[in-house]
Amino acid sequence: MNLVDYLTLFAMVSIWTLMGINVLLSVGGFIYYYKMGKEDPNIPLKEYPFVSVMVPAHNESAVIRRTVQALLNFDYPKDRYEIIVINDNSTDNSAEVLADIQADHPDRMMMVINTDSQVGGKGKSGALNIGFSAARGSVFAIYDADNTPEPQALRILVEHLMVDDSLGAVIGKFRTRNRNASLLTRFVNIETLAHQCMNQAGRWFFFKLCTIPGTNFVIHRHIIEAIGGWDPKALSEDTEISFRIYRLGYKIRQIPAAVTWEQEPFRLDIWFKQRTRWAMGNLYVLGSNFKYIFDPKGGRMRLDVLYYALVYLLMATALVCSDSIFVLGVLGYVHVSLGGLSTMVWVMACILFEFNVMLTLSMEKNEFNLESAFIVILMLFSYSKLWVIVVMRAIYMIVKKLATNSEFTWYKTERSAD
């Protein structure tokens, strides 16, 4: 047995372990979606709480009008929610656009907070903390500046949050608004549905765990106060805040009927930067919470820490090993002497991946077709490999920044008018 054999074995065991976990989550996700689909998502309340809808925005003039318009169209009682747009150190004409919208709707409670580089420009967490200081609501709803939530989304989220005291936050589902813009957005659309929404549903179904996706969620004010606001160091503030909510003993639930549509990166360079930030942020959260994995007091949160460790460390490493050995093997540089490795098993993995994703797509309108089936196969051999590069780059950047003791900088995803 040589090093290549050991790495091959490691990759095989890791990949199939994670494949098994993924299948399990998809099974749970399907059952949860199916049950939720049969239930009435509306739970009318006697009295609706006052909600502060916060939208952090940095140079979002291309999309902000559409976003605010969608927020104004919520079917939530108009006198029971306010919209707070934190125009965070924008250099474009976002302030003018927002002022126009305010002028057009003088009867609506809408606040625009314009910050400069002295106060703002510190990333999404900083902007949310600024909005938090001005907000009046007992419940906060957060939307990204590129979102167009469906009218009932906020109401459904708040209704479910208010009827269950064990919930600290409720998240909705997000869909890709510009899925036909490019092949990349088709990939992102499928990834969003299969690996973010479905897995979230599966984790909730089996373990009562969910991670806040950064948009289209509601949270109690007292929880934000208890945890001291958003962590300005966190590059993925959503994951970070999720773990702190877990630690307070609250659950986070996903309600698929509350849908928002968001714009996804349509260019590879934009996608690459955005995903690197996510990966770095999630690794930061993993690093700061890893200690809880051996702490019984960590409760079920430890499962989520383990899940993130499996995905970002084990899965990424296993795929790097597997792909490297495959490429070097084809070039004749390495040879695997381990017997019993079957091509059929590899084909089985591809078939399972295809079935898994197609199940998710079968639950959505206009997604389940032959074209999608082909894209899923294409995705397996292209998009999935990019994810590995993203994680490796994120690890490299973290190590580099720690070595040079430099600060992490927030990358703001570029938007386009659609």
């Binding site: 047995m1 054999d5 074995l9 095989m12 199939w16 098994g20 299948v23 998809s26 099974v27 399907f30 979606y33 199916y34 689909g37 049969k38 009435d40 998502p41 509306n42 739970i43 009318p44 309340l45 006697k46 009295e47 609706y48 079917d75 939530y76 009682p77 108009k78 006198d79 029971r80 009218p151 009932q152 109401r155 459904i156 009927a257 002497s337 381990l338 017997g339 019993g340 490795l341 079957s342 059929m344 098993v345 089985m348 993995a349 078939i351 399972l352 079935f355 898994n356 197609m358 199940l359 079968s362 639950m363 309108k365 389940f368």
Partner: protein, 396 residues
């Protein structure tokens, strides 16, 4: 008046026309026949070294003619009273221990049915000779050995340009012991024909009196630069049969190879064709074989008795006893077997998960048609819109 009498008691009376006296030195052997002259009884034919004397000859007499032919044959081909020592030998070639014994048994049963002698050339084994598969293989060899088959050991395969002869001999020793530990005694070696023309080649086969050759380019590092030296060592050399047309009888011994991977009917057809031909199929056990390997000396005489280091060996076949074998596998082999087992589990897992996904897809598509997943939320949302705008909803 003389009377001739054969060994079987047939007689013929003749008139004696001439007396002659022949003096023969040394030990005289009687080749056969009796000559009666009055009350006196004399041997008809006696021989000593290269001189054979026939006391009476009348070729016109049929009985005498038959006896003359017998005496001539014995005079010309003195070994074992056979007309030729240059026989052809059927050899089952390159038989590996991992072959299914039942399939091999079917081949040798067929050969025994056809009544032809044969030898089996087994491949050298250097490791794991205690594995059950090897034991089963040797049980089959032991059985056919008891039925008169001769076992031939294939020489260690050579892939290097310059072979270390010490290592080579150790391999040969190991391979021989792998079989002899089960009472199977290879009595000949099968080696590339080029070995006859190189000193290293001769060194490789020197322990075996009987050598079966096969065509190969395998060299032991030194090239042939002259004629074969094998005869100087007293080897009995059996060349490969290469049918290139022309005469089918030759003046030297040949091995006719059979491929055990062929179907039984094809092999049987080939054997029957051989039997119909002029070939003289012989058994390697007709030869006297001797083997020196390592510290062992194995000798087999023409009567079929095998001695190992001077001790007689019982060749009677007794079924082997098998005990549960615990494989001392290395980590790699252990992992390989685990992976093979895991492959089956993964297949089963994919089958179950795939079936679930297929059913789930059908269910969700049916649900989609009924708009269970999507339509309901819009309907209720629309109904609630009016009430919600007033600022108060109603608790369900």
């Amino acid at each position: 008046m003389v009377r001739l009498e054969t060994e079987t008691g047939e007689t013929s009376d003749k008139l004696l026309t001439q007396n002659s006296i022949v003096l023969m030195e040394g030990e005289n052997a009687v080749l056969g026949g009796t000559l009666f002259v009055g009350d006196q009884r004399y041997p008809l034919c006696k021989t000593t070294e290269r001189i054979t004397h026939l006391a009476y000859c009348d070729a016109s007499d049929s009985l005498m003619a038959a006896m003359l032919a017998t005496f001539l044959q014995a005079w010309m081909w003195p070994y074992h009273n056979d007309p030729t020592v240059y026989g052809q030998y059927l050899v089952l070639d390159q038989v590996y221990p991992f072959y299914e014994p039942a399939d091999l048994m079917a081949v040798t049963d067929m050969l025994m049915e056809e009544g032809v002698p044969y030898a089996v050339s087994v491949m050298p084994v250097y490791a794991n000779a205690d594995y059950p598969a090897m034991k089963r293989f040797c049980e089959w060899l032991r059985y056919i050995q008891s039925k008169g088959a001769c076992i031939v050991l294939h020489a260690p395969l050579v892939t290097l340009e310059n072979v270390d002869m010490e290592t080579y001999k150790k391999q040969l020793n190991t391979a021989f012991n792998a079989y002899s530990r089960y009472g199977v005694y290879p009595l000949a070696i099968e080696a590339p024909e080029v070995y006859l023309f190189s000193k290293r080649g001769l060194e490789a086969i020197q322990g075996f009196r009987t050598v079966v050759l096969y065509e190969s380019d395998e060299q032991l590092g030194d090239r042939a630069d002259g004629a074969s030296l094998a005869w100087h060592d007293g080897h009995q050399v059996i060349a490969p049969y290469l049918h290139e047309g022309g005469a089918i009888t030759t003046a030297y011994a040949q091995a006719i190879y059979l491929n055990v991977n062929e179907e039984i009917p094809a092999l049987r057809g080939f054997v029957q064709a051989l039997k119909r031909s002029q070939r003289v199929l012989k058994s390697l056990t007709d030869l006297e074989n001797s083997v020196y390997v390592g510290n062992d000396y194995v000798n087999r005489n023409a009567q079929g008795v095998i001695e190992v280091n001077g001790e007689l060996v019982d060749l009677t076949y007794e079924p082997f006893q098998y005990e549960e074998y615990k494989f001392q596998r290395g980590l790699e082999e252990y992992l390989t077997s685990q992976i093979e087992t895991s492959n089956k589990l993964i297949m089963a897992f994919v089958l179950v998960a795939g079936s679930f996904f297929a059913v789930a897809i059908v269910l969700s598509r049916r649900a989609m048609k009924r708009d269970i997943l999507h339509q309901k939320r819009y309907q209720h949302a629309t109904e609630r819109n009016g009430k919600a705008r007033s600022g108060k909803g109603e608790r369900g």
